[in-house]
């Protein structure tokens, strides 16, 4: 015969749970809340990302295609990862409450590591997508340049972004990245300093050209003299001014306009 479960028995069990085994009760509560919260965050993030158009942005990138092949999507991966992170935190918290972790220091450290791991994964995903997107954008910009070697530039941009993302992720995980940072420093020095040196004349022309375009001290059709060359202005762009006289077209860099000044010939 089954023992009769009376209201008193239940009450006593609950009281026992709330007093002697309170920690266990709390742990279970945290665990359940964590699971629900994780699920909720997964749903919320997915909805949010779909609403702001993330699927359209990442569509067609090699990363998205790569994880599509294993049956995932970028949105699904990120939202699930976030949900999983919340659940993992809840599990750890619950286990702590029951007092399982105090002794084993190694596991405790591993657990403290969890947020770093999560952020590193997120940085890596964003970096991969950003790199692919930047490659696409640059190659689109360079489409009118009919030079086979120009395809190297978008690839370079892509791998630069990959490298930086990889570096940030590694630093987040606490790996020593000093050597890689030096490499990055040398690389950006090469690109920016030496590039700036090489493009010095163009940059100063462009700076002068911006002024010329904004204030228009002379316009198309005016007769001017620059550098001792006189003629009618045919075209002004950011880098050069084209002056034409008697079938001769002078292409004058805009920095000359600033260094030498201009003579405007007014019609009498």
């Amino acid at each position: 015969m089954l023992p009769q479960v009376t209201l008193r028995d239940v009450l006593r069990a609950v009281t026992e749970l709330l007093t002697d085994e309170f920690e266990l009760f709390l742990a279970v509560l945290v665990l359940i809340t964590g699971v629900f919260l994780g699920y909720g965050i997964t749903r919320l993030l997915r909805g949010l990302m779909e609403r702001i158009g993330v699927p359209d942005v990442v569509e067609g990138t090699p990363f998205e295609r790569g994880i599509n092949r294993v049956g995932l999507t970028t949105v699904g991966l990120v939202s699930r990862l976030s949900g999983l992170f919340v659940v993992a935190v809840a599990v750890v918290l619950a286990l702590r409450l029951v007092g399982l972790f105090t002794a084993e220091l190694f596991v405790a450290q591993l657990v403290d590591y969890l947020p770093n791991l999560f952020i590193a994964a997120l940085v890596l995903i964003v970096g991969l997508i950003l790199g692919d997107k930047a490659e696409l954008a640059t190659s689109e910009r360079l489409r009118s340049v009919k030079l086979p070697e120009v395809t190297l530039v978008p690839t370079l941009v892509k791998f630069s972004i990959f490298y930086v993302a990889f570096l940030v992720a590694l630093a987040q995980l606490g790996v020593m990245v000093a050597a890689l940072l030096v490499l990055l420093g040398a690389y950006s020095f090469g690109v920016f300093f030496l590039g700036g040196l090489a493009f010095k004349d163009m940059l100063s022309s462009a700076a002068a050209g911006v002024y010329l375009l904004l204030t228009e001290p002379y316009t198309i059709g005016d007769e001017v003299g620059i550098d001792g060359r006189r003629g009618i202005v045919q075209e002004i762009d950011v880098f050069v001014t084209r002056i034409e006289s008697d079938g001769e077209e002078h292409v004058v860099p805009n920095r000359h306009v600033f260094q030498e000044g201009i003579v405007r010939v007014r019609a009498e």
Binding site: L213, L214, E216, T219, I220, G221, E223, I232, V233, Q234, E235, D237, E244
Partner: protein
């Protein structure tokens, strides 16, 4: 059915080269390895053809399209003088559905290829201005017909051979034809009198210009008005190209070197 094959066979019998207009990849591949020289005429070289003539506008009129292709092929030296050409193009469908035969020597050149490729302004700029004019012709016709005159290229000289009718609305602005904003401004364009001056790179230099070229010796068809006369004259005096939308018959005409080169009906586009 052999009569039908003979009919087509007579058309293509003994041709020296084949002009394919906007072929699909498979259509080109079929002829790519043939002994017959093949020239592709299309807006973009999607099939990686070695002999390629870029078509700046998809002329709906087959005569214009073929004329442009043949002139381009001759100018580029892809075909010789006194040759028989077969031209395959699409007229109604999405695939090539018509074949005609053209003789290069008896071919009357209108200079439509030179208008785009050998003028001072870039071909893309002339195409953009032509598109804007066609659009203006279409839009204007719904309410009231409008006229317009665009002078493209050699802007410095054009500016010195004209004078302002009013304040230049494009002063210190940097609008280029082909910018999306130009399509928005189209309706405003039709209100402005005088000519638009556009530079070699496509910058709209000025509106409200009264052109003052010497009209001596300009030979344009009778019946066209002052706007066309001004357009013809300015292109004779300078190296510019003029594109005119007629107010009376709604046609778009292009002038170069004082001569009428091209005539299009905006309604066809």
């Amino acid at each position: 059915m052999s009569e039908l094959s003979d009919l087509l066979g007579d058309v293509v019998e003994g041709v020296d080269a084949l002009l394919l207009f906007s072929p699909s990849g498979s259509a080109y591949d079929r002829f790519a390895d043939a002994e017959l020289p093949v020239v592709v005429v299309a807006p973009e070289n999607t099939v990686d053809a070695t002999n390629f003539v870029e078509l700046p506008v998809e002329f709906p009129d087959l005569r214009e399209r073929i004329r442009f292709g043949v002139e381009g092929a001759i100018e580029q030296g892809l075909v010789e003088d006194d040759q028989q050409l077969a031209c395959a193009a699409k007229v109604f469908g999405d695939d090539i559905d018509s074949v005609t035969r053209v003789r290069t020597s008896g071919f009357e050149r209108s200079g439509v290829y030179n208008l785009f490729v050998n003028s001072r302004a870039e071909p893309g700029v002339i195409r953009d201005v032509l598109e804007v004019t066609i659009e203006l012709g279409k839009k204007g016709q719904k309410g009231k017909q409008v006229g317009a005159l665009f002078v493209v290229g050699d802007a410095g000289k054009v500016m010195n051979k004209s004078r302002p009718l009013s304040y230049n609305p494009f002063e210190k602005s940097h609008v280029h034809v082909g910018d999306p904003i130009v399509n928005v401004m189209l309706k405003e364009f039709s209100r402005l009198d005088g000519a638009f001056v556009i530079s070699d790179s496509g910058k709209i230099v000025s509106a409200y210009r009264y052109l003052e070229p010497s009209a001596e010796g300009v030979d344009i068809p009778k019946g066209l008005g002052a706007r066309h006369m001004a357009a013809g004259a300015i292109t004779r005096d300078t190296n510019a190209v003029a594109i005119v939308l007629s107010e009376s018959d709604g046609l778009v005409r292009a002038f170069q070197g004082g001569e009428l080169i091209l005539e299009l009906d905006p309604e066809d586009y």
